[in-house]
Symmetry: C2
Subunit: 422 residues, 2 copies
Amino acid sequence: MSEITSASAYASQLGLSARAAAELLPAINGARKNAWLERVAELLVERTADLESANEQDLAAAVEAGLSSAMIDRLRLTADRIRALADAVRQIIALPDPVGELVSGGSRPNGLQVSRVRVPLGVVFFIYESRPNVTIDAAALCIKSGNAVILRGGREALHSNLALGSILRDALRHEGLPEHAVQLVESTDRALVGEFLARGDLIDVTIPRGGKSLIERVCREATMPVIRHFDGICHVYIDESADVQMATDIVVNSKCQRPGVCNAAETLLIHRRALERVWPSVAGELSTRGVELRCCADSLPFASGAISASEEDYRTEHLALILNVKVVESLQDAIAHIRTFGSAHTDAIVTESVAAAGQFETLVDSSAVVVNASTRFNDGGELGLGAEIGISTDRFHARGPCGLQELTTYKYLIRGTGQTRG
Amino acid sequence: MSEITSASAYASQLGLSARAAAELLPAINGARKNAWLERVAELLVERTADLESANEQDLAAAVEAGLSSAMIDRLRLTADRIRALADAVRQIIALPDPVGELVSGGSRPNGLQVSRVRVPLGVVFFIYESRPNVTIDAAALCIKSGNAVILRGGREALHSNLALGSILRDALRHEGLPEHAVQLVESTDRALVGEFLARGDLIDVTIPRGGKSLIERVCREATMPVIRHFDGICHVYIDESADVQMATDIVVNSKCQRPGVCNAAETLLIHRRALERVWPSVAGELSTRGVELRCCADSLPFASGAISASEEDYRTEHLALILNVKVVESLQDAIAHIRTFGSAHTDAIVTESVAAAGQFETLVDSSAVVVNASTRFNDGGELGLGAEIGISTDRFHARGPCGLQELTTYKYLIRGTGQTRG
């Protein structure tokens, strides 16, 4: 009982502090928010050794716990990755301040001046797993967009996140920004998450980023809107007319460049008439990279060491060097497969045919539809959003990578000279 | 048990039919959607007598059930209102088709062409109460924005809605559009609503519009995103510098022009230094209109027939000719009252001071902040959206009146020439 009370009191305390910070943040101008970002970038590089040693504790625990190599890769903070993180923060500095941006405006026939201006969402509760760099990306995006954020990382990354949290807080103090604009939940007790999800009065939006069971739980319990980030079951479809080298490069990059992330490809679809011409080259290159191929009966004979795919494989986000392969009879078959088995995240076509590219773009309704490029480009940084707090798989107003704009809402300003409604 | 099964089967049947229609709608061009709207407008006028007689049945039942006069007013369909409804449909014809609209676009340093284009949300489940004209507005907006819609109106309006539903369906058939693009739930069994809310696999968004208990229930049970439409506890604040005539006109219009709707004013705040100069005129005009005034101790003596306001009054959406009145010491006090007692829906200031107007606009964070005009203008039609399916009181991506744009999402199109990620 006293534990429940204290969990509830802890959630209230963080929520109230966040709300107080959120009332101050909209009035803080872009220059001051950018000074904070610059300070964060500096501290990241200055404290590389501290971060690496905190991260070592998490990695050691992860190895002991027998986490998969993909999970351990996601967890790792190297000096290179820390530098990249500081660079990512500086890219956010370069982006325009979304707060106060005029979304639309004009005058009505009765003389009313109507405009919509961007305002922050308010207080964001962000729940995520594993990758500690997400801590920095999320805080940077939230503060730049005028939101207070409560960060709840995974237990696997707790030491890394505490070290990163100190940097964020020290930078807030250094720049005179509200100290509680960024708060880290210092316990990874799962019941505590429920206390936050119950506080729709204090938290404006929850963004869960992690496994399906986490997101399902959040959707069930949340009393505020949720930006959902479900599976990435992403496809590359090699069309009849595909160029062999381009197809090979795109499939290899989509699968292998970082297999543990949501926009990596899980399934390759090949037009039957491209099978003999394209598949041996693609299969050979994938085998060289150590990719386990799970093939349909028609693609199996061409790939040495491949095994048979089950229907379940086509519904699975492997997050590892495993690729499902299936031969389809037509572009329409490929689209039907994507609709049935995909998660509407990222789907690519490799084709030389403008008609096929157009049909694929029209009929595939995923958050990103890619023609002749890697699925890995469905990413806030790569699409020019600076960074992302997640990729929304909801068919809702924020879809795909969520960056600064997706962390704002708007209000209408209606300016009159005494107008009344007739 | 068999009832449960049949409720669940009914929800599945409507959901699957809607989904099938939703797959066809994005490919239907704007001209065909507009032809459907024109046909709906024509049928509304042609069938005025039928509609009035169906509506009479609902009105008779409402009188018998002892519904409030505000509720009965909301329910009533007159020939004038039907003509206005047809006009509103024709206004939607004049709006640009949102589907396929380019939201943003450009090229990335690596040569990728990135664009975002609007696509429909998919299948909308719309739950609403009382006003039958909402049936037409909602269907018109959903179809124009390429969505299939399942309409679940209130039991009070069932006969009216069935007559309107026939018009919508006959027009779909007449124009060769998917017949199940608009479906009316023909039972007002409340348990049935739960069956629809469980079908996040078939329905993309639920929009509840009605009382607080309805919306709370929907938020609790929905397995898909929800656009929430909570109370409109709207304020008019008469600033120290307000013009007497303008203040009187705006308060009277905000309260009386249609008291049963969400953007009607519920509370009047008056700066103490405007009390003697402005309040007698405002109070006199309100009394003439039959408005019951519930006053604080300071405003009470100036208004004949007024009664004392309770704290609960300030938290109540009366939806009737009742107005709470409170004297405040300053603009800051007014803003603090609005933050504490308001619902962040629509709040207005009457002032001659540019500084006061600016502060009010910055510090009041409601879906619409109004300067020197009636609160009644926070309405999709009045703001140029054509019409609205609801007013979102969420601090989320769609806020305030939701029209065509708010019924769409977008997808990213990424066009390359073989790019891979390094």
